[in-house]
């Protein structure tokens, strides 16, 4: 991130904290009724929070060296988000798959494929990457639980 982006993130985080949090605390404590002023505070705070979150998502690529240009391809961003829900072993797989998708994307660009074609293919391949990982994880959980199932019979 450059200096401008850091400033934007700091300002949006400040707005988020300065508006949304006091508004919510007041409502939670029950000291004041929800009126227009508090509601607008919360809305402004949420907007600030959204911008701050967007900036934070931009920072996700620090761990696997993906340039921000890739965020144009929704599939890559989806895989980046999935990365944070995975365990250590699956994170390795996601990192390798991300690098492979990046190579696929470059290859398709070299072949002269259109932007939307590349986007659709990457999104499809991302989903085809995520689903088997979830399936494999689920099967492992079931396999781990099955030996204990006999104790609950009868």
């Amino acid at each position: 991130m450059n200096l401008k982006e850091h400033k934007e993130k700091a300002i949006s985080s400040g707005i988020s904290l300065g508006f949304m949090v006091p508004g919510l605390i007041m409502i939670l404590l029950g000291n004041v009724r929800v009126n227009g002023l508090i509601l607008s505070c919360i809305v402004i705070g949420m907007l600030g929070h959204f911008v701050a979150l967007k900036r934070s998502l931009g920072e996700l690529d620090i761990s696997f060296q993906i340039q921000s240009g890739n965020s144009r391809y929704g599939g890559v961003l989806l895989l980046k988000l999935f990365f944070w829900f995975c365990g250590k072993e699956n994170r390795e797989i996601v990192q390798i798959a991300l690098a492979d998708l990046k190579r696929d994307k470059r290859e398709m660009k070299c072949e002269g494929r259109g932007f939307w074609f590349v986007k659709a293919v990457i999104l499809w391949r991302t989903l085809a990457t995520i689903i088997p990982i979830i399936w494999d994880g689920s099967v492992r959980i079931v396999k781990a639980i099955l030996p204990f199932a006999k104790y609950f019979k009868g």
Binding site: I66, L98, A99, D100, K102, R106, I130, I131, P132, I133
Partner: protein, 100 residues
């Protein structure tokens, strides 16, 4: 010994001669079988094969990120032989009587 699934057999066959990266394995798989394999299926299958001790992995890095290379082990070679024998016996089941 556990019998390999058809996908496991195909993937082991691909890495039985050379050490290949996951992406190259996916390309070879498409050339050999005519159907594509997703990276998720490929890497989770290879993880299972590695847990059984049938493949070795080596990680490397280039400008795009991590690359994982796969190579069959000695145990993998014998498991592949067993699997091929098993699938051949299924394919030839009942054919001896029909040709006689």
């Amino acid at each position: 010994m556990k019998i390999l699934s058809p996908t496991e057999t195909q993937l082991l066959s691909i890495v039985s001669t050379n050490e290949l990266s996951g992406r190259d394995v996916a390309k070879s798989f498409k050339e050999e079988t005519g159907s594509s394999i997703s990276y998720g299926t490929l890497y989770t299958t290879f993880r299972r094969l590695k847990e059984q001790g049938w493949v070795n992995t080596r990680d490397d890095e280039d400008e795009d990120g991590r690359v994982r290379f796969f190579k069959i082990t000695g145990h993998g070679q014998s498991a592949l032989r067993e699997a091929r024998k098993f699938y051949n016996s299924i394919a030839n089941f009942g054919l001896q009587g029909a040709t006689a």
